[in-house]
């Protein structure tokens, strides 16, 4: 088969998919099943909690196994006012063949389903928290899967965070699927700032419809190995999708992004920034696909990286596949070091060298922070970034 016919096949598959989503019938039934299951689970767990009188100030809790040290929770949850979903401890997985399961996407059996009705405006942000209270020192694989359904014209902000309180090296493997109906707005922030023994594997799939707007921010600060898969499918006209990433790391990280434009007048922008130190090995695979029907697409892809050490390594692979005749696509990758002239300028004004470097690095990461719509999270992250940049200097 030659390339053109392959493309046609691809379009027809996508078209089938769109018809399916427009009809809603199979999707809804599927969702309904998941929903009823989760509600059942939720109610039983809620009763358990109520009987034991553990949690008071947490809005919702979903447990997949029993908890011992739950009383610590309220200390960890005081950052800001939000509606919370808490997941505690995943499936314990003692087998040695942990790596076999590592790349299985839908490993988890228990699913949380969040449905936001038509025209809902969420004033408080929604916080999804993953906790690990390791009972044993062996490593744990924590699987979770969330399906988020945004109704027409709804506006939601979601913050996702991870906390590992166990001693061993543990794996978080999360799958998030988002279905965005027309005119909906989503602001999704993923923050990975756990202890440096944790592994992360993150899959996010987003399906957007007419005139929807999504803003995904990924912050990766700590972890042995972080793998982010993020794919967006634009199934509608005039869709905006913005994805931003900031990583300040000493270890391994992999970003895989895919944005697919199917219908005309779509806009997308992905900006990834990174500050890497010590033996960091990082890969950025950014891919933008513009199909033949997606005319007047405007896509921007950008990856900027600062290396602070000779041993750090960055691989940046930008990929553009453009089949439409009328469109604008740009991509750029920069890998470099801090400008010595800038440091000298700051030092000449009496600012010490280390402080000057911190200032420049914080300034470097500022434009990613400006994409955040939630002010308190911005303040929290600014502190965090200051910490990490400082910490790495020593």
């Amino acid at each position: 088969m030659d390339k053109a016919s392959l493309m046609e096949l691809k379009i027809s598959i996508v078209y089938l998919f769109t018809v399916k989503t427009q009809l809603h019938a199979p999707l809804n039934r599927y969702m309904y099943n998941i929903r009823s299951k989760t509600i059942d689970l939720f109610e039983t767990k809620k009763q358990e909690v109520k009987n034991k009188k553990y949690v008071i100030d947490i809005n919702y809790t979903l447990f997949t196994s029993s908890i011992k040290r739950i009383r610590k929770l309220h200390v960890l949850l005081e950052d800001f006012d939000s509606l919370r979903f808490v997941f505690i401890d995943g499936i314990y997985y003692y087998n040695r063949s942990i790596y076999k399961a590592y790349y299985e996407r839908f490993f988890s059996k228990e699913i949380a389903y969040l449905h936001f009705t038509e025209g809902l405006f969420g004033e408080r942000p929604i916080e999804i928290l993953y906790f690990l209270f390791g009972k044993c020192t062996k490593s744990i694989l924590f699987n979770n899967r969330i399906i988020i359904f945004l109704g027409q014209g709804s506006c939601i902000r979601i913050i996702e965070r991870y906390k590992n309180l166990s001693l061993g090296s543990d794996y978080f493997s999360s799958v998030t699927e988002v279905y965005m109906n027309s005119d909906s707005y989503l602001d999704y922030s993923k923050i990975k700032n756990d202890r440096p023994t944790t592994y992360f594997l993150d899959h996010t799939y987003i399906l957007q419809e007419d005139r929807s707007y999504c803003n995904i921010n990924t912050f990766s600060f700590c972890g042995v190995s972080i793998i982010n898969f993020l794919s967006i499918l634009q199934l509608g006209k005039e869709i905006h999708s913005h994805i931003n990433g900031l990583s300040i790391l000493q270890y391994h990280i992999l970003h895989n992004t895919l944005i697919e434009h199917v219908f005309p007048n779509g806009k997308s922008r992905d900006v990834y920034k990174g500050i890497f130190d010590k033996r960091a090995k990082t890969t950025f695979n950014g891919k933008i696909v513009v199909l033949k029907s997606a005319k007047k697409t405007n896509a921007i892809q950008n990856s900027t990286n600062i290396l602070r050490c000779d041993e750090a390594m960055v691989k940046a692979n930008p990929k553009l596949e453009i089949f439409a005749e009328d469109g604008k696509c740009t991509h750029g990758c920069i890998v470099g070091q801090l400008n010595t002239k800038e440091i000298f300028y700051l030092r000449c004004r009496g600012i010490s060298k280390s402080e000057a470097i911190t200032k420049l690095l914080v300034a470097f990461s500022k434009d990613i922070l400006e994409c955040l719509s939630f002010k308190e999270l911005k303040n929290l992250l600014t502190k965090e970034i200051n910490n990490y940049v400082d910490h790495k200097r020593n």
Partner: protein
């Protein structure tokens, strides 16, 4: 205040300065003139402490102490200020933030407490009026998208905030129109006192009209060729640098 003795400077084995002697006392204004590539900017960078330049022989004394081994920030703490020829753009750092950290770190080095924010803002506003700048200027990123005149004004504004003992103005007049030059030199004159000294590095006579120098030195091919009073600058303005080359 500043004594430079027999200074030889090279970069990558290329000799840039070949034996410079300069004595600046407190309360004096010195001007260094010279054609392009004569080593004027090198001299200013060496005094400020740029690492790339290697000092082969000679020393620099500031208030009786050797400063060759000191880092740029330590020199700034002592009271040396370098106004850059082309200030670097730093996106993401606001002017207020920058000035606050800069002033506070200099104060810290001198054993003083951090300046309260209210006092800081008051003094910043006072100085803004002197230079005729907008308040919006404070919230913009440092030098990002500034026009040439704004950049130079920003440098002098920083100088007024830091209150250094010795300020080196590296081609502050270039890129300024007549009005901006008048405002900048008015600011410099207001700052000038008997407790500090100023070293002006320039191509042209025009800034020296407003800031009257006590001494004028001519630098040519890494050497001080001639020194004199204000008249020397006027002579250069008339005849150009070619007559010096013959000498």
């Amino acid at each position: 205040m500043l004594n430079i003795e027999n200074l030889h400077v090279s970069i990558e084995e290329k000799l840039l300065l070949k034996g410079i002697n300069l004595y600046i006392n407190v309360g004096e204004v010195h001007a260094i003139m010279g054609p392009n590539g004569s080593g004027k900017s090198t001299l200013s960078a060496v005094i400020a402490g740029k690492k790339e330049y290697k000092i082969t022989t000679g020393t620099i004394f500031f208030e009786g102490e050797k400063i060759i081994h000191l880092s740029p920030e330590e020199r700034a703490h002592l009271g040396i200020f370098l106004s850059f020829q082309d200030p670097i753009e730093i996106p993401g750092v606001s002017v207020t933030n920058f000035i606050r950290t800069s002033v506070n770190s200099v104060r810290k080095a001198r054993g003083l407490y951090d300046m309260p924010i209210n006092d800081m803002l008051k003094s910043i506003r006072k100085k803004l009026e002197v230079f005729g700048m907008d308040k919006d200027f404070l919230y913009r990123s440092l030098n990002e998208g500034f026009s040439g005149g704004e950049k130079k004004r920003n440098e002098i504004f920083q100088m007024a905030m830091l209150n250094p003992k010795l300020s080196i103005l590296d081609e502050t007049d270039s890129g300024l129109d007549v009005d901006a030059l008048r405002i900048v030199s008015k600011g410099i004159n207001a700052f000038k006192s008997k407790k500090n000294a100023i070293l002006i590095i320039t191509h042209y006579y025009r800034i020296l009209k407003y800031i009257v120098p006590d001494f004028v030195h001519v630098l040519f091919r890494g050497k001080m060729v001639k020194s004199g009073g204000k008249k020397l600058a006027i002579e250069i303005e008339k005849k150009g640098y070619s007559w010096i080359k013959q000498v």
